[in-house]
Amino acid sequence: MTKTILKAAIGLLFLAALLVIPRYVESPYALHMMILLFLSVSQGQSWNILGGYAGQYSVGHAAYFGVGAYTTMMLMYSRQVVPWVGVWVGVAIVIVVALVIGSICFRLRGPYFVLASIAVAEIMRLSAINLTTLTNGAEGILATEIPAFKIGGRVITDFLTKVPFYYIGLFLALFTIAITYWVQHSKLGYYFQAIREDQDAAHSLGIHITAYKNIGLVISAVLTSLAGAFYGIYVGFVDPPTVLGLDVSVQIMLICIIGGMGTIWGPVLGSLLLVPLSEALRSNMITEGLVKIGFVSADSRIGLFLKENLAHAHVLLYGILVVLVILFMPDGLMGFIKKLAPRRNREAV
C-alpha cells in the first residue's frame, strides 16, 4: 500500500517537473528534443496497443500517421481550416481508412497480415504522390503560418515559440500512455492478450476475434493519426516519403519493440533510448564528446574516421540494436529490466 502511494508520489513529481520544464529551459533546441521525444512516445504507444497487446504486427502504420498529417495540413493549406478542427477531420477519415484496411487485412494472419499492411501503406504513399491536385504530389505541403488559437476572441497561444508544441506533445504522450493503461486494465486488454496468445483458443472462448482486432486497430490508428497531425503542424511540412514511407512504419514499430511490447513503459523506454541516440549520432555529438574527454584526438585517424562515418551510421546501429534485441532480449528493454528484478511487482504484468 505504501509502495503504491510512493509510486504515485514519484509519478506526480515527475509530471510536475515535465510541466514546468519550459519555464526554466530556454534553449529551443532542448525543447525541440523533448517534443521529438513526446512524438516518439505517442507513436510507439499507439502501435503498442495493436502490436504489443493484440499481437497484430502492422508494418503499415505510416498509413495512419500520414493520413493524420496530410488531412490536417491539406485542410489548413487549401481550405484555411484551423488545425485543431482539421485534426478531428483527420481522425474521422482515419477511422474509415482503418476499418477498410481492417476488413481487408484481418482476414489474414501472421506474415500475410504483415505483408498486407505494408501493401496498403505503400498504396497510400503512391496515391499521395500521384493525386497531385489533392495532395500537391511529391512537392509536399508547406504551411508557413499557423493561425493563433483563440477562445472567444482571446488569444490562448500564437504558436510562435516551441512552448505550445511542448505542451501539446506532452499531453499527447500522456494521453496515449493513459489509453494504453486503460486498455491494459480493461476487459478489452484481456481479450487482446487472449487473441495475441492463441487466436483459435480465444475464438473458442467466444471472443469475437475480428471485431476486437478492429477495435484495437481503430484505437491505434486514431492515436497514430493524432501523432501525425501533431508532426505535420509542428514541422510545417509534409511530403510522401517523410510521413508515408516504409521507414516511418518501421521506425514506429522499432520504438515499441526495442522498448518492450505489451508493456506500458516499453515505448517510453524505447523513445528515451532511440531519440537521443539518433540525434547524438547524427549531429556528431558522440565524436565531439569522445574528443572532449580526451578519448580520441580530433585530428587522429580514429577521430577523423568517427567524424566522417558515425553520423551516417545511425541506421546501421538501429539494425544492430534490433538484431540484438530479437536474439537476446525478445521482450525488449522492459523485459530485460524485469528479468533483472524478477521478484518485484509481479502483478504489474
Binding site: Y29, I129, L142, L160
Partner: protein
C-alpha cells in the same frame, strides 16, 4: 518565454565576438541524396581552404540532414540556438531548404541556399533567406528557348522522376510551353529506381514528339537514354534539366549521351573569374570533376564567410548580403528582389551539349564554346 527569447537574442546581438566566424553547414551527407551532397561538402572544404589563405579562419559546424526535412529542421534549431552561428550555408535539397527557410527567418539567421531548385523558397518574402542558384523555372525556360532558337519544335514529351525536384521543374516547364504554344503529347512521371522504362519510352515514341524533356538524377538519366536508344526514340532534341544530365558520369557514357542538350548553373570552361582554376584544383584535390553544386557551394561559402567576417553579427550579415555584389566562380552575384522573388541571385543559366564526350556551352552566344548540333542525329 518569448520575453526570455528576446532577451537572449539581445545578449547575443550585443556580443559579436561570441558569434564571430561560426558558420553552420547543413547538407545531405548521408542518405539517398549523399552523392550530390558530397560535391557540396567538397566545394565548401575548398572554400574553407581558400578563406584560410586570405586570413579568414572559419569555424564550421557541419550538420547532416540525411535528406529529410524534419532532420534538417533539427539541425537548424541546433545551429541557431545552441551553436549560435552567424550564418548558415545549405541545405541541399528543395524539401529541406523549404523547411529550413522558415526557421532561418524565425531565428533571424542569414541562410544562403547554394543549389536547391524549388521556386517557392525565395518567393515567400523571407528576409533572411538567400539563394545562389537559379530556381527551377530557369531550367525549363532556358532549355525550351534554346530548342526554339535552334529549330521549330511543336510538340514536347515530359519524362521525369516523381520527386519534388522532378515534378516542380516539370510543372514550370509545362506552364512555359503552354505560353509558347507548344503541345504536350506525353506526361510521364516515373518512380525513382524503376528497372524498366522501355514500355514508357515506347509509348512516348508512338506520340512522335519533337522534343523530349527529362528530369532525372544520374543513374536514371543513363538508363533512360540507354533505353531510348533501345526502343529507337528519335526526337529533334533530348533536353535534360540539370541534375543527372550534367554529370561527368553521364558524359562518359558516350554511346548514349552524345548530343544531349542540358542546362546547368555552371561549367568549368565558362569565363567567370576563377571558374577554370576552381575546376582544376577541385579535380586535383578530390579526384572528381566538380558539378555545379560544388561551384555553387564554394561561392556561397566564400560570400557568407567574407560577409560575416566584415559584418560581425546576424543582422548586419543579412544587411550586407542584401547590399553586396560579388564576382567570382559563379559570375556576378547579387541577391535581388524581382518577379516575386526575394533575395534571389538572378543567375545566368548555361545551355550545354555533349559534343565528342565533353560538355560544351552552346548558348547563350557570349559564353558559347561550340555550335549546337541540331536536330539530334539518327541513333547508330
Amino acid at each position: 518565454m518569448r520575453k526570455h527569447l528576446l532577451a537572449l537574442g539581445a545578449v547575443l546581438a550585443l556580443s559579436p565576438c561570441l558569434l564571430a566566424q561560426k558558420i553552420g553547414v547543413i547538407n545531405s551527407m548521408s542518405g539517398p541524396e549523399a552523392p550530390i551532397g558530397e560535391h557540396i561538402t567538397n566545394g565548401i572544404k575548398l572554400a574553407e581552404e581558400d578563406l584560410k589563405k586570405k586570413g579568414i579562419n572559419l569555424q564550421l559546424v557541419w550538420e547532416d540532414d540525411t535528406g529529410k526535412p524534419q532532420i534538417s529542421m533539427s539541425a537548424m534549431e541546433k545551429l541557431a540556438t545552441r551553436d549560435n552561428v552567424v550564418g548558415v550555408v545549405g541545405p541541399y535539397t528543395s524539401a529541406c531548404s523549404n523547411a529550413v527557410a522558415k526557421l532561418a527567418e524565425k531565428y533571424r539567421v542569414p541562410l544562403l541556399i547554394p543549389a536547391a531548385a524549388k521556386e517557392e523558397i525565395t518567393r515567400q518574402g523571407l528576409k533572411y533567406v538567400f539563394r545562389m542558384n537559379a530556381p527551377a523555372d530557369k531550367y525549363a525556360s532556358s532549355l525550351i528557348d534554346a530548342a526554339s532558337s535552334l529549330g521549330k519544335p511543336k510538340t514536347i514529351a515530359f519524362i521525369y522522376e516523381n520527386t519534388d525536384f522532378g515534378t516542380s521543374t516539370t510543372k514550370t516547364a509545362k506552364e512555359y510551353v503552354a505560353k509558347k504554344g507548344m503541345q504536350v503529347v506525353a506526361d510521364e512521371p516515373y518512380p525513382k529506381g524503376a528497372a524498366d522504362y522501355r514500355s514508357t519510352l515506347a509509348k512516348v515514341k508512338s506520340k512522335n514528339p519533337d522534343l523530349v524533356f527529362m528530369v532525372s538524377y544520374v543513374a536514371d538519366a543513363i538508363l533512360l537514354m540507354r533505353q531510348s536508344k533501345e526502343v529507337g526514340l528519335q526526337p529533334q532534341a533530348f533536353l535534360g534539366a540539370g541534375a543527372g544530365f550534367t554529370t561527368p558520369e553521364f558524359a562518359k557514357e558516350r554511346a548514349i549521351s552524345e548530343d544531349v542538350i542540358s542546362c546547368t548553373q555552371w561549367t568549368g570552361d565558362v569565363n567567370w573569374p576563377g571558374a577554370k582554376e576552381f575546376e582544376a584544383r577541385f579535380k586535383a584535390k578530390f579526384g572528381k570533376e566538380p558539378t555545379y553544386h560544388a561551384a555553387c557551394a564554394y561561392a556561397s561559402m566564400i560570400i557568407m564567410a567574407e560577409t560575416a567576417k566584415k559584418a560581425g553579427d546576424r543582422v548586419k550579415t543579412r544587411d550586407a548580403l542584401k547590399a553586396g555584389k560579388w564576382n567570382g566562380v559563379m559570375g556576378e552575384v547579387q541577391f535581388a528582389d524581382y518577379e516575386g522573388f526575394t533575395n534571389q541571385n538572378n543567375h545566368q543559366m548555361l545551355v550545354q551539349q555533349i559534343i565528342n564526350g565533353n560538355y560544351e556551352t552552346v548558348l547563350p552566344a557570349k559564353f558559347a564554346t561550340k555550335k549546337a548540333v541540331f536536330p539530334f542525329p539518327k541513333w547508330k
